[in-house]
């Protein structure tokens, strides 16, 4: 395993130290591992809390700041954080208007956030939770764990953060988060596996001429293994299942998010984005907004994901609103 780390068990703690030094505007609780917006709690504002395993940087900690998250709880690499972290974050950002938990749909994340919500309620904090499940690679069914929460989470955190900043109440922000989830779909692929530091070797083996389609963000193998293909073909493999799952009428507007899994550089993302845009143009779908870069990653994995969010005016307005975080910043 080749990584710029010290001991595998210190990866999360030391990265938090570095983040604190690089971003003094954040408050970081190292004992409980909670990243909190510098001016939290903001009185009268709905608090937005998210969290999940580490290894997806900049998500979630890099999205803490004005106009996005009030706090984030990083777990161990690819492991959901624990209820006590989430409880601490929830209390730290409660400005009296309640707190929204934005949860990605993984058994561990859901169970731990459930426990945290129970504990917070016991402490008299009003908590609502929305579980994101936008990954079309996973067949959904009430008998399974359901779909994974992936790229739409980033968009939900931005849009709900802006709504909370604008004074939306807990019910409104929660409804908006559900709407983003209902209108967001994602699909990812990998050219290489990734190595969990504590495991020390790649989670799966891929041949030099193979790729995985339908992966998540935890180095899990995908739904299908195929021979490597051109960016144009990959774009089809990612966009078509998204559109099959959530069709667009001609002229409908989308926010298109082309994301790197961590090891794929920007030059390739732009090539993929170009192919995605061609496919959508053919179908008369307007790309009203876009985001291209590494925002929800899987350690050093090479690969990419495409997320499409069907936009309405309210979501668009909140997307454009000012945001000031380590990883996303505009209008501020």
């Amino acid at each position: 395993m080749k990584k710029l780390i010290n001991a595998a068990e210190d990866v999360v703690a030391e990265a938090l130290r570095g983040m604190e030094l690089a971003h003094p505007e954040l408050q970081i609780n190292h004992e409980l591992k909670v990243i909190v917006r510098g001016d939290a709690p903001v009185a009268g504002k709905v608090g937005i809390v998210s969290g999940g395993g580490s290894g997806h940087e900049p998500m979630h900690g890099g999205f803490v700041g004005k106009g996005m998250l009030d706090a984030a709880c990083p777990g161990e690499v690819f492991t959901s954080p624990t209820p006590d972290q989430m409880l601490e974050a929830t209390k730290a950002v409660d400005g009296g208007a309640g707190v929204l938990h934005i949860v990605k749909n993984y058994t561990g994340d859901v169970l731990n956030f459930e426990m945290a919500a129970e504990l917070a309620a016991a402490d008299g904090v009003e908590v609502e939770a929305v579980v994101l499940d936008d990954d079309v690679a996973v067949q959904d069914s009430s008998f399974t764990a359901g779909r994974r929460g992936v790229g739409a989470t980033v968009l939900a955190e931005k849009i709900c953060g802006a709504a909370a900043e604008a004074g939306g109440d807990l019910a409104q922000v929660k409804e908006l988060c559900e709407r983003v989830n209902a209108n967001g779909r994602s699909m990812g692929m990998a050219l290489t596996s990734c190595t969990v530091p504590s495991a020390g070797k790649p989670t799966f083996e891929l041949g030099d001429d193979e790729m995985e389609i339908g992966i998540g963000i935890h180095g899990e193998p995908g739904r299908e293994r195929r021979p490597v293909a051109s960016a144009a073909e990959v774009a089809k493999l990612l966009v078509e299942p998204i559109l099959a799952d959530l069709p667009y009428a001609e002229g409908e507007k989308a926010l298109v998010f082309v994301n790197s899994m961590g090891g794929t550089p920007l030059i390739e993302l732009y090539i993929l984005y170009n192919e995605v845009a061609k496919l959508l143009a053919e179908r008369g779908i307007e790309i009203a907004r876009n985001l291209v870069g590494p925002y929800i990653t899987s350690l050093e994995m090479q690969g990419a994901s495409v997320t499409m969010l069907k936009l309405d005016d309210e979501m668009t307005g909140y997307w454009d609103a000012a945001v000031e975080t380590p990883a996303l910043r505009w209008g501020a």
Partner: protein, 214 residues
């Protein structure tokens, strides 16, 4: 062992020490299993939780079964994370509550407490038998223990039977198609791999057999 076996809090503590010992030995294997159908962290998660649980027991020095269960549950919940954290946490919380504020349990009481613990895992995780989870080791184990006791077996017999059933349940997860947990994302590709959680659960029951009625 003799019919009149009683399981003391010290026995329960010995159980955890033994379990954490085997987890230490099997951590890489558990992570390996989790690499195939999950995210390669089950062994690391369990090892982290065990270290903390052992410290917690040393600090708490629980006097009754409830205190024992709480101490471990809280520590596991606050250190393991992932799916297994809340699930094993619920296991010990329920075990303690069912065991009650007594300093020892007889055979029937021990199996009843274990049953309550497994039911808590089921209601927390909402998995069913056959979903390819730790329940596929735990539920058969409880059934076998109860059957053994009904047939007049000792706690030792019951735990031996439970261990065998847990192992069979663990092996039976191999051909299953996962419907819960990360493995479910793999669909058909989850078939042919043994479930990591079922494996750690088998180790948990086996450790009980080695310590509670020895």
């Amino acid at each position: 062992m003799a019919e009149g076996t009683t399981v003391t809090v010290d026995d329960l503590v010995a159980w955890i020490h033994r379990f954490c010992e085997v987890i230490g030995d099997h951590a890489d294997e558990l992570t390996q299993l989790d690499s195939a159908i999950g995210d390669a962290d089950h062994g690391t998660n369990m090892r982290r939780g065990c270290r903390a649980a052992v410290e917690a027991l040393a600090a708490a020095e629980p006097e009754d079964v409830t205190g024992f269960g709480r101490a471990i549950a809280m520590k596991i919940i606050s250190t393991v994370g992932g799916a297994s954290g809340p699930l094993y946490g619920s296991f010990f919380l329920a075990l303690g509550t069912a065991g009650g504020s007594t300093s020892s349990l007889d055979g029937v009481g021990t199996v009843a407490a274990l049953k309550a613990a497994v039911e808590a895992v089921r209601s927390r995780g909402k998995a069913e038998p056959g979903d390819k989870t730790m329940l596929d080791a735990l539920l058969p184990a409880i059934a076998a223990m109860e059957a053994s006791l009904d047939a007049g077996g000792s706690l030792s017999d019951a735990l031996e039977a439970g261990t065998t059933a847990a192992e069979q349940g663990m092996v039976a997860t191999i051909p299953m198609l996962a419907r819960k947990g990360r493995a479910s994302y793999l669909g058909e590709r989850s078939i042919g791999h043994q479930d990591p959680g079922a494996t750690s659960s088998w180790l948990l029951i086996r450790s009980a057999a080695e310590t509670l009625a020895a």
